[in-house]
Subunit: 406 residues, 2 copies
Amino acid sequence: MKSKESVFLPLVGLYQATCCSETKYLGRDDLLLMILDKGSIISGCLTKSSAPSAPIMWCRKNFKSTLKRGEPIVILVNAGNANAFTGKEGQVACQRKADTLSNLFNCNHSNIFFASTGVIGEKLQVQKIINKLPILKKSLVNNNFSSAAASILTTDTKTKICSTQFMINNHVVTISGFAKGSGMIFPNMATMLAFVFTDYSIDGKTLTALTKKAVDNSFNKISVDGDTSTSDTVFVSSTRRVKIKKNKKDSNSFNDMFYEKLLLVMVNLAKSIVLDGEGAKKFIEIEVKKAKDKKSAREIAFSIANSLLVKTAIAGEDPNWGRIVMAIGKTEKIFNMEKLKIFIQNQLLTKNGSVVKNINEGKLKKELEKKYVKIIVDLDSGKYGFTAWTSDLTEQYIKINADYRS
Amino acid sequence: MKSKESVFLPLVGLYQATCCSETKYLGRDDLLLMILDKGSIISGCLTKSSAPSAPIMWCRKNFKSTLKRGEPIVILVNAGNANAFTGKEGQVACQRKADTLSNLFNCNHSNIFFASTGVIGEKLQVQKIINKLPILKKSLVNNNFSSAAASILTTDTKTKICSTQFMINNHVVTISGFAKGSGMIFPNMATMLAFVFTDYSIDGKTLTALTKKAVDNSFNKISVDGDTSTSDTVFVSSTRRVKIKKNKKDSNSFNDMFYEKLLLVMVNLAKSIVLDGEGAKKFIEIEVKKAKDKKSAREIAFSIANSLLVKTAIAGEDPNWGRIVMAIGKTEKIFNMEKLKIFIQNQLLTKNGSVVKNINEGKLKKELEKKYVKIIVDLDSGKYGFTAWTSDLTEQYIKINADYRS
């Protein structure tokens, strides 16, 4: 079946519309409305920041019982303003948007979901957004994915989209998603938004569990700059149009098949975010192997992924594995230096607590000129592993972030 | 009394010599030998990295009983090569240097201390260093501080020195120290070296306790890039020449007076390191106030200090306090957003969970053009505080670190 990275595969029962909100960007769409027909369900993962945005606080209450009411699900997203740390006014803004949407689409407040991305702390010009809602309603079309994916971008340089189709018991199931995010990227989960849609018929509880698991294995493995935002949001929605006859045993194996594809889409989107990291020129995969427990594998992988010195070395195409040793050491996890093996681009660089003899530095430097860099850290002290994805750190990152608000 | 930041005040019983080791840098001294007369004592704080360098492993065993033997204390420092992650060969290198020094100065191995700074993982050309030791011995002079401070630099752009003299019970006490470090700076304690000398007569146990306390309140408050090295070293030595008559009660108050000045010297050196941070243009002080416990105050202060987004905003002279909120939120410490107050350059920017009205952005941007930036975070939820010092993050940092090894 199809698995397309640059073309959206459509879904029945999903409608989208975009426009320019006139709150921040001029000359481009930055407001996105999405409607899922009644009978749909939605689940999500939201930032763990203890300074969450107003939309995050709004959504936290709403992941339940959207199915029961026989009403559409409404998702409204704006780019340019995060509506974060805007105090009571931020919450009032969500309430006012919801009042209008509830009237327009004849649905309960708890069927309405918001996501906002952009500058933190500036008040949302909510009236301007509300003024656009009737226009957006009128321009809703089935599967306007390309415009949707473009409308949510901020410092991103390109849209991030992924679609796949596959068979479950002779039925065609589709998953289509898009994401944004290029700085402030770190589990859980940074200034990233992702919206994933399927038509696979699944119950809300299972969808919630699979969403959380897929997020852990995709978006929670990436880091561009080690920062976490107030606004990170992943929604996974299903129109539930593709109903597949199943007994209980089938159900588990069908759900496994669905999960595998859901993860594929999310990993693709997560990697696209890293590749579009602010100023990033390289994609770096850091695989920590044979750790004594999962926690230390993860901590070591992210210590490397977030080290400015490692990331700048790779930007400079310098196989400075000493900085990797430093980043491992920084975690204060006890490990045996004598057993540690470090590979860059599959070349073994260290063993027995020091550099291996006869490294072909010239060849290695050549290998590092590639866009994709793989670091393997083998601790040889257990059976647990973790893989983190990050980008290199370039002068361009500083340029983008020193000027972001202006 | 005198407190000089750019002139060294001498100490009787301390000798120094420098030369070019020919192991890395040509045309500049990078090898430093320091001798303290017998009767001296030494204490120190070493990196907590779990991948410590060979010199760190060597020194860890030696902080004891240097007084007893009536032998000199020998400190040998080299810049350009950290002798870290060099396996057994690194340890053998220390052993060989110690054998030679032990013969030259007629002292026990345990009176010999090493510090190395530079690239991790490259083998130390120990024979070249050993060849220089007799020459260094011959050129030892009393108080050659300026050359000493220059010889230990790597990517530093300037020497970092501080001296002070003060009276205790009508006796003149001197403290003189110097340090290096400009990247990989983070407690505990990054690629930084600091050597502090005094003539105050103090027992080894008390000196050790005061050294640890002073390091916690100086070098352990700084961060340039959030990275921790394999080699961080602070030595505090006393020639014990200034003997002050005292009873037990006096002793405590005299030691308090000494501590206050020791801290002053260390804070001065710590701040100098931040100001000379790789590519740094600004010094940023982050004071977290009224936290519910010390640990969360520290964690929040460093979350801000280490945030690339905060550091780049300040490099861009942009009062983007939203990124400060993000960095606080990232710690996952529960706090009340409604109570949070954020000040930049003493201007209150947030209260009641949102931005204050009528901020004079023009004035604030003007204030941010200054070299010294002060951020205050008032959590209003307890009585604990912590202050962290960091630098801004500029394109120059990336340039330096992408090219470091070349």
